[in-house]
């Protein structure tokens, strides 16, 4: 199984268990459908960063109070803010399948989540090389809603990236990103290469989660 299929299966709650053939077929079909109909879009900007030792992070005029984020960004001089979305076409497909084939709707939503992560990973890999050229190393992606990084900061991402205009990424009054298959994140850029955890899932304290990466 390639990694995105593996991720999708994890989102479907299979844990360590083997996935049945029928579901696997659906996963494959759903990725094909997404590849055919969906176009990812991404916008990013690099900002000067200040991480004083008091649980705050300052990105240009934006001040974020989050110990988790501060820890993640410690020692970084710059930050990349980014936003990415798969667009409203995915939402429409999910709604459609919710009416005709709920299993497909469920699988599609898992695949879309995995596709979005993969899209971000691929971009980050490219960006990592660019940054390395300028002598910077990247920290893991960190998004509003992780740990104590307040979700209300979504609006700062949307404003500072001008993401509504650039990629059609907006949010609701309740700070939910629209289209729903969208991500905002910040990545610290540091002069030293500190070994970090690969990804966010293992970091989480909810160890009994059925979606946990094994």
């Amino acid at each position: 199984m390639d990694s995105r299929v593996k991720e999708a299966v994890r989102y479907l709650g299979y844990g360590r268990h083997a996935v049945d053939e029928k579901t696997k077929g659906l996963v494959r079909d759903s990725f094909e459908e997404l590849d055919r109909t969906v176009q990812g879009r991404l916008v990013y900007r690099i900002f000067e960063l200040d991480v004083p030792d008091d649980g705050r992070v300052k990105i240009e005029d934006l001040e974020i109070a989050s110990r988790n984020l501060a820890k993640n960004m410690k020692g970084c001089r710059r930050a990349v803010m980014l936003g990415a979305t798969l667009g409203i076409q995915v939402d429409m497909l999910m709604k459609r399948y919710s009416l005709t084939d709920m299993t497909r709707a469920l699988v599609l939503q898992a695949c879309a989540a995995a596709a979005l992560e993969e899209y971000l990973d691929e971009w980050q890999e490219k960006f990592k090389n660019e940054a390395a050229g300028e002598g910077y190393y990247l920290r893991p992606r960190f998004s509003p809603g992780y740990g104590d990084f307040d979700i209300s900061h979504q609006k700062d991402f949307i404003r500072m990236l001008d993401s509504a205009k650039k990629i059609g990424l907006t949010m609701t009054d309740g700070c939910m990103l629209t289209p729903t298959k969208s991500v905002t994140a910040v990545i610290g850029m540091s002069r030293e290469d500190i070994p970090c955890h690969k990804k966010g899932c293992e970091e989480c304290k909810k160890t009994d989660c059925i979606y946990r990466r094994q």
């Binding site: 000067e48 240009e60 667009g87 709920m102 709707a105 469920l106």
Partner: protein, 801 residues
């Protein structure tokens, strides 16, 4: 007056302001619009520079003013807009030295929010925001309204309507495309042009997003379809980043060079967007001096295309024949009528999806029944359909109020069914087309009925075309239906219709539609007559048949015609659809299994087949209780134990649903009354737009024969309470995904307790746990979908599994 000059001479807009504002000291994060009041001198100076550079039209610094309504309370919108207009006029006074007439354009940008149903901003709410800005602008003395950088057809529609209905100013609208010529929301160029022309903007075009060079291929396409003047306002190239700063690097000289080419292609008004400066505009004006008068440029003439659109891809009539799906219509359909009466929108949506899958290009929508609030239902159906299908719709009603209600909120340029040659009909329908845009179906009948000669019908078509002209409706926006009369009562009926089809096309060059299946009314084996007549009509030049795309016979006629006439290149579609197909229906695989196993394994076809087989020997209720419920229980228990996973649970549910449908029909036929079912209301709470969990719970509850009233997502507490009271519901299920929306869940529970204390509340969703559920006062927390089924059974005193 600007409209006297527009399209006759090349007009110049201004360029970007962002860079200039930064140079004058604006801080990141500051709202530029507030500078109209706090930095008047600087603003006037920027406008002055553009007028001096040669701009005829300068935009007010109000791009985000409508968004201020949402985000900023320190300033009055009215004051900002008024100051912005005055600043431009001041700039003109100081910067125009040659006495030329110049204009202050009220700039309106997007709200920055996504409209419903994908986002949470109401169409009418967006309209109101735009309305306020537009009104303030006119009061302050703006000369025109310029709506720009729109990436969503729905939002631009709200803005244009607001501007046109609340002011008497000229309205321009420009959109932001990507390099492939698509909007962020998926719309293509013909669909955007069709929408904006339909709304009667005075000029349309493209701005931002890319540099002048990248705009050339897009402009070419816009010019192909647009018959109104076209505006082009590129950035100074594609954005680049250095040290955290965004910059653009096309120089004034390069910019002017390419813009000259753009003017030569046929643009009527040019200027710049992000990264362009007064120097760019000055260079542009100089470089295009000799092109100022339109007569020295090549006179362009857009071809006449009959275009209908939704938010996505446009459908062009008149080339390859198109299919209009007829199935969303209660006429002669018992189940459909029942769905309308029960307000079962899902049923209607499934009819739409099925037709799209079968190959329809446009969907006819008719929801007319006696004793039904047709305008409200039409509006709701159209909105909902547009959230699951990107096909353009044909709004079909005899009720003019229903037509208008739907046309107003329709995303795109719809087809309207219909107007006819009666003066009364034309007086009622044509003004709607004039206002909202649309392609209208003209029926060839009038006060004297339906003429029985081709000439008589063509004459009425001519009358409709002439009358429409008075409203400024072009011929390309009229399609003629010459009407098919059944041959069982009119033996010459088919011949007359075919001759009339040819005649109207020959005489007026218009597109045609036809409700094909009327032809066989009263005859046996109707598909045979229908499909043959369909082929004959296509051969006579029919642009779009209104047919049942789920009919194999009709689709074979269509596919064969397209293959034969080389519309289907290399017979690709034909081969794709029919290769390997035999004439008999394939028997389901997995012979020899029971219904119980079919459901446990989630085999839909088999479940459908076996339910039918079992009905021959057993009663429906017996099958449900002895085969299906035990199967569902087994799967449910497996899910709890962790041996069955959610996709499998749902596959079983889907298989059971199909078997239930077979049994339900049987129950109705035998006259057995269905058991009265317990009602449960489900809703994803206000502010929350993630509803997949709720939808899963819905499918499972329906499986256990609960009557689920699904209120959807982002549902206000009041609506939930109101429904629970009206339907006397004893259990409500609420879902929420994030901490930010648990508050509205809590509020809903509080209101339910006050107004309907005997209604239990179960909650679920990613952010919830038992502790949280207790805190907000829920009766039950369902950690997964099966738990809610068990709790529902308990609530209604059913036996637990």
């Amino acid at each position: 007056m600007i409209l006297e000059r527009l399209g006759k001479e090349l007009l110049y807009f201004d360029g970007g302001t962002g860079t200039l504002l930064q140079e004058k000291g604006m801080k990141p994060g500051e709202l530029p619009e507030t500078w109209n009041l706090t930095h008047t001198e600087e603003m006037v100076d920027i406008h002055r520079q553009y007028f001096e550079a040669g701009s005829d039209i300068v935009l007010t610094n109000t791009f985000g003013a409508n968004a201020l309504k949402f985000h900023n309370t320190d300033y009055e919108l009215e004051d900002i807009v008024a100051a912005a207009v005055v600043n431009v006029k001041e700039g003109a006074w100081m910067g125009v030295h040659d006495g030329r007439e110049v204009y202050a354009a009220l700039d309106i940008g997007p709200t920055g929010k996504l409209l419903k149903p994908m986002g949470d901003l109401d169409f009418e709410e967006a309209y109101d925001a735009f309305k306020e800005v537009a009104r303030c602008g006119e009061e302050a003395g703006a000369d025109l309204i310029h709506i720009e950088t729109m990436s969503d057809t729905y939002e631009v529609k709200a803005a244009v309507l607001a501007a046109k209905e609340n002011t008497s100013l000229p309205v321009f609208a420009t959109m932001i495309f990507d390099e492939k010529g698509k909007l962020l929301t998926g719309g293509d160029i013909p669909s955007v042009v069709a929408l904006l022309e339909g709304l009667r903007v005075d000029a349309l075009g493209i701005n931002c997003g890319m540099g002048p060079a990248q705009m050339i291929p897009l402009l070419e396409e816009i010019l192909k379809y647009a018959s109104v003047p076209v505006i082009v306002k590129p950035n100074a190239g594609l954005p680049k980043q250095k040290d955290g700063q965004v910059y653009y690097d096309v120089t004034p000289a390069e910019f002017a060079k390419i813009m000259r080419e753009i003017a030569e292609m046929g643009a009527s008004a040019v200027g710049g967007c992000c990264g362009t400066t007064p120097r760019h505009i000055r260079a542009l004006v100089k470089k295009t001096e000799k092109l100022k008068s339109l007569s020295v440029r090549e006179k362009r003439k857009a071809e006449d295309f009959t275009i209908v659109s939704s938010y996505g891809k446009a459908v062009i009539l008149g080339e390859e024949p198109r299919i209009i799906g007829e199935r969303i219509n209660p006429t002669g359909k018992k189940k459909f009528k029942e769905a309308l009466k029960n307000h079962d929108i899902d049923y209607i949506l499934r009819e739409g999806i099925a037709q799209q899958d079968a190959g329809a290009h446009i969907l006819d929508v008719n929801v007319g029944l006696p004793d039904i609030d047709e305008p409200a239902l039409m509006k709701e159906t159209v909105t909902e359909l547009q959230s699951v299908t990107s096909l353009p719709l044909q709004i079909d009603s005899v009720d003019v109020r229903a037509l208008e209600a739907a046309m107003r909120i329709y995303n795109g340029k719809p087809m309207i069914n219909s107007v006819n040659g009666k003066q009364e009909s034309m007086d009622a329908v044509l003004p709607l087309i004039q206002k909202y845009g649309g392609v209208v179906v003209g029926l060839t009948l009038d006060e004297k009925g339906i003429p029985d000669t081709p000439e008589g019908r063509a004459d009425i078509a001519g009358k409709i075309i002439e009358e429409a002209k008075k409203y400024g409706i072009q011929k390309k926006d009229i399609v003629i239906d010459v009407l098919a009369m059944t041959i069982s009562s009119d033996p010459e009926g088919a011949k007359t219709t075919l001759a009339a089809l040819r005649l109207v096309k020959e005489r007026y060059g218009v597109c045609t539609v036809l409700g094909v299946s009327n032809i066989s009314f009263g005859l046996p084996c109707r598909p045979a007559i229908n499909s043959n007549f369909y082929t004959m009509a296509l051969q006579a030049g029919l642009s779009a048949g209104i047919i049942n795309p789920l009919s194999e016979d009709m689709m074979r006629s269509y596919d064969s015609f397209c293959a034969l006439m080389n519309y289907d290149k290399n017979c690709e579609r034909y081969i794709g659809r029919y290769a390997g197909q035999t004439n008999t229906a394939p028997a389901p695989k997995n012979e020899g299994i029971t219904l119980r196993t079919a459901i446990e394994k989630g085999l839909k076809e088999e479940a459908h087949h076996l339910a039918g087989v079992l009905l021959a020997e057993r009663k429906p209720l017996e099958i449900i209780n002895e085969e299906m419920i035990p199967a569902l229980d087994t799967v449910g228990k497996g899910f709890e134990k962790g041996t069955v996973f959610l996709p499998q649970l749902l596959m079983s549910a889907d298989a059971a649903k199909i078997a239930f449908a077979v049994l339900k029909d049987a129950i109705k036929e035998t006259g057995d009354t269905e058991q009265k079912r317990d009602k449960i209301v489900l809703a994803t709470v206000k502010g929350d737009i993630h509803d997949i969990g709720k939808n899963i719970v819905k499918v499972l509850l329906q499986n256990y024969s609960f009557d689920v009233i699904d209120l959807g997502k982002d549902v206000a507490p009041e609506k939930i309470v109101e429904t629970v009271i009206r339907e006397d519901v004893k259990l409500a299920g609420l879902s929420a995904l994030m901490t930010t929306t648990v508050a509205s869940m809590e509020e809903t529970i509080k209101k339910l307790r006050e107004k309907k204390p005997d209604c239990k509340v179960m909650v679920g969703g990613a952010v919830l746990n038992q502790e949280y559920a207790d805190m907000i006062g829920a009766d039950f927390y369902g950690k997964d979908a099966m738990q809610s089924v068990y709790y529902a059974q308990k609530c209604f005193g059913r036996q637990e599994i």
